[in-house]
Amino acid sequence: MSPQQIWQVILGELELTLSKANFTTWFKNTFIGEFTEHGDVVVCVPSTFYKTWLERRFHQTLIKLIEKTSGKPIRTLNFKVGTGKTNLPFVVNNTDQNSLTETQPEEKPSLVEFKIPNYTFATPPSTLPINQNTINNTQTSSNFSQKNEFSVLDTSLVSYTLNPKHTFEGFVVGKGSELAHAAAQAVAARPGEAYNPLFIYGGVGLGKTHLMQAIGNSVLAKDTSKRVIYTSSERFTNEYIHSIRSGKGKEFKDLYRNVDLLIIDDIQFISGKESTQEEFFHTFNTLHQNNKQVVISSDRPPKAIKLLESRLLSRFEWGMIADVAPPDLETRIAILEAKCKEKAYNLEKKIVTLIAELVQNNVRELEGALNKIIAYHELKNTPPTEGLVRSLISNLENYASRKILSPKYVLQVISSFYGVALEDLLGKSREKRLAYPRQIIMYLLREEMKLSFPTIGDELGGRDHTTAMHACDKIRREIDSSSRVRETITQLKQQLYAA
């Protein structure tokens, strides 16, 4: 690891143990300036205030962290006041000066700067032309300066970075995730070219995060110099707010607009946050224009995200939209087998199949059930039997999904989903915006609660039982013919059974 990487890892750890204020105040613009073979380390800090504070408060902690991270014993740790930028020699190239005077418009009155030999006022040092013999020196310096600008936000990457476990190899592909998997692989192979943006959606625990992180890991495995950011939309929002509050808007922009791959998880939480959406929109545009890959995930398709600005919506639909559906039985069995192998645990084929049959909803639950069985086995030291598995999993199921519904609750959920008032739903009006949700409610009451048609009619403001029958038939037909309706219904069910 290079000293810079070591420092980033240490900052990542410190960020978790220190308060945000403390961390950003004292570790801003710090970096390792020197790391010798004998274990002499010099950490550069912006001023003597920082030096004194770090010497007195963090000396031991930092030594331990550096030793732990680098795996080398540390002999001395010193702090030095310095910024990477100052080592830059002022070099003026004659031709450049001439070209400067030429570009000055001669006709218009203009302010003229002093000319001092061996010093240039006209260009800030970082963009100076470089003499041959100073190239190395300057390059390291400019690296430093870049690091410095980013360091505050950069550290957040370390603590919130990719999980190396999530790779394509570890992903079990099933029918439902075939498309998403293929698209993700294509994107990882040719970031920015294949599908930009890649939008992955699907229910909880189906592997969206796994796929997205696999893209990041695979890109990094090929080229470690790529800048990859993996973040959640919630974190994006928080950082954005923080950057505005602390006047670091530019750093925020620099961070997110200078990446090669931006992965944003759970984008649906951006809905309703207007200025975050705007910021994200600009970030997205900048990246897209520069052919940088953007990968986004959500628990629902872009169209179904409420309060999403249309310009964002159209952009999400620009590249590739892939859904991840719940795995079928064979896939579930394959996933369980892969997990067993990973945990080096032998489970009878029969039991595996049984678990896969009993747990249908999502992969996370599947893994939970497996863990439970393994733990039970290890504690009681009895091999799992069919009956045991059944009872263990039925517990799980009772907990997780079989919530008891009431007609009132169903009504509430649907009315808030469609944004219509409860009274209107129960009222006389047959406007389309009311009629359709009403039909959905009738369908759900029938399917999920097994209510009789007359009862359903009564619950919805004393309607006739034939109305309810018609509604159920209609929605059932639509579910068969339209995938959109199917998705809506699945989502509504999720919401109904959500805690």
């Binding site: 105040t25 001023s47 203009s110």
Partner: protein
């Protein structure tokens, strides 16, 4: 912590230090002032991690201790507190302030998170007369650059002894104009011998402002004590009486500005400063908003006058002629009126000299017959 002092002393101490508290910083404790009893003295300290200001306040000490409290709150409370004796006692993190009629409790914050002031060895220092230093700073400070792309120009360049022993050279430039002032350093004060080493540093413009502000808070009769400057480890400390101002220094190399000072002039004019300020202000109303140019035409020989004129597409035009004693040939130059006014208003004398080479090269403004100050302005290219 327990002590008694007068409202006047504590208020003055807080006025000195509270300005250095940080605004808009992520660490809330930096809004606080540290009250600390050390060596039987009450010390007030505040910092924004660029600058730290430390003031010692006369007080009768009963118990040692330390605490931090919001600087603004304390300052505002003390400003309305009746003059006279104040008793202050610390209970946990609460500061009980008692005057003759008031009973106040200020919620403090424990001091363990308050930054340390970097220690600096103050035995080796330069000594200066406060009044001279104050004037010198005023004469250069306005030329400090505000463009942070060139950090080294965002400060005042201070050159101790290397020009000439016993002389401090101060300079500031924003690359369009340059002010340079020389002043003498003290050799000793009483028994104390001052540093004679040559040293060059760049002090941030904000620090200079703070130094000026603090030394202006003290009355003339205290001006006998010299101001002392110690430099160490890219840090500078200004000590004056009971106050110390710590600051970081700007790293980097200051441009060798002496090369741009012209030595041969074609035209030289004697000017009456207050008269010229009025004329230029008049002309400024009719200058173009962009470069803010005002044209100066110099006529020697029999005429001996300067014609100041400006033309603006929006507001109109203006010409005025000033009789001035002139040596050398006829000449013409266009200057940014803001820059020229800055120089004229900070000269602090009535008679000055304006020296010109040509309309393309820098011109020099200096007080008449005095060699220790000069102000150089680049002309506007027509």
């Amino acid at each position: 912590m327990k002590f008694s002092c007068t409202q006047e002393n504590l208020y003055q101490g807080l006025q000195v230090v509270s300005h250095a508290t940080s605004k808009n910083n992520t660490l809330p404790i930096l809004n606080n002032v540290l009250l600390k009893i050390e060596n039987k003295e009450l010390k007030l300290l505040s910092t924004n991690l660029e600058i730290a200001v430390n003031a010692t306040v006369r007080a009768k000490i009963e118990e040692v201790g330390e605490i931090t409290a919001p600087a603004k709150l304390l300052l505002e409370y003390l400003s309305v507190c009746p003059p006279g004796k104040i008793d202050i006692e610390l209970k946990g993190a609460d500061i009980k302030i008692q005057t003759q009629n008031d009973n106040t409790l200020v919620k403090g914050v424990l001091s363990q998170d308050f930054p340390f002031v970097p220690p600096i060895n103050k035995t080796i220092s330069y000594g200066l007369s406060v009044q001279d230093f104050k004037q010198a700073l005023q004469k250069v400070m306005f030329a400090v650059s505000k463009n942070e792309a060139r950090p080294e120009l965002c400060g005042v360049f201070m050159d101790f002894n290397s020009n000439k022993e016993g002389v401090l050279t101060l300079a500031a430039t924003d690359s369009y104009r340059l002010a340079e002032k020389k002043m003498s350093l003290l050799g000793n004060f009483g028994d104390k011998q001052y540093n004679k080493e040559a040293q060059k540093v760049i002090v941030p413009g904000k620090t200079i402002q703070e130094v000026l502000r603090v030394i202006s808070l003290f009355h003339e009769d205290e001006a006998q004590t010299p101001l002392e400057i110690s430099i160490q480890d890219s840090q500078i400390v200004f000590s004056y009486g009971t106050v110390e101002i710590y600051s970081r220094l700007i790293e980097g190399k200051y441009p060798d500005y002496t090369q741009i000072i012209p030595h041969q002039f074609k035209t030289s004019t004697q000017i009456q400063v207050s008269e010229w300020i009025k004329r230029i202000k008049a002309a400024s109303l009719f200058s173009n908003t962009g470069v803010q140019g005002v044209v100066f035409e110099f006529f020697g020989g029999n005429e001996q006058k300067v014609v100041i004129s400006s033309v603006s597409g929006q507001t109109g035009e203006h010409t005025s002629s000033v009789l001035s004693k002139l040596d050398g040939e006829n000449n013409k130059i266009t200057l940014n009126y803001r820059y020229l006014l800055d120089g004229l208003m900070n000269l602090l004398v009535e008679e000055a000299e304006l020296q010109i080479v040509s309309s393309e090269s820098p011109c020099v403004l200096r007080p008449k017959g005095v060699e220790d100050y000069l102000y150089i302005i680049m002309p506007i290219r027509q």
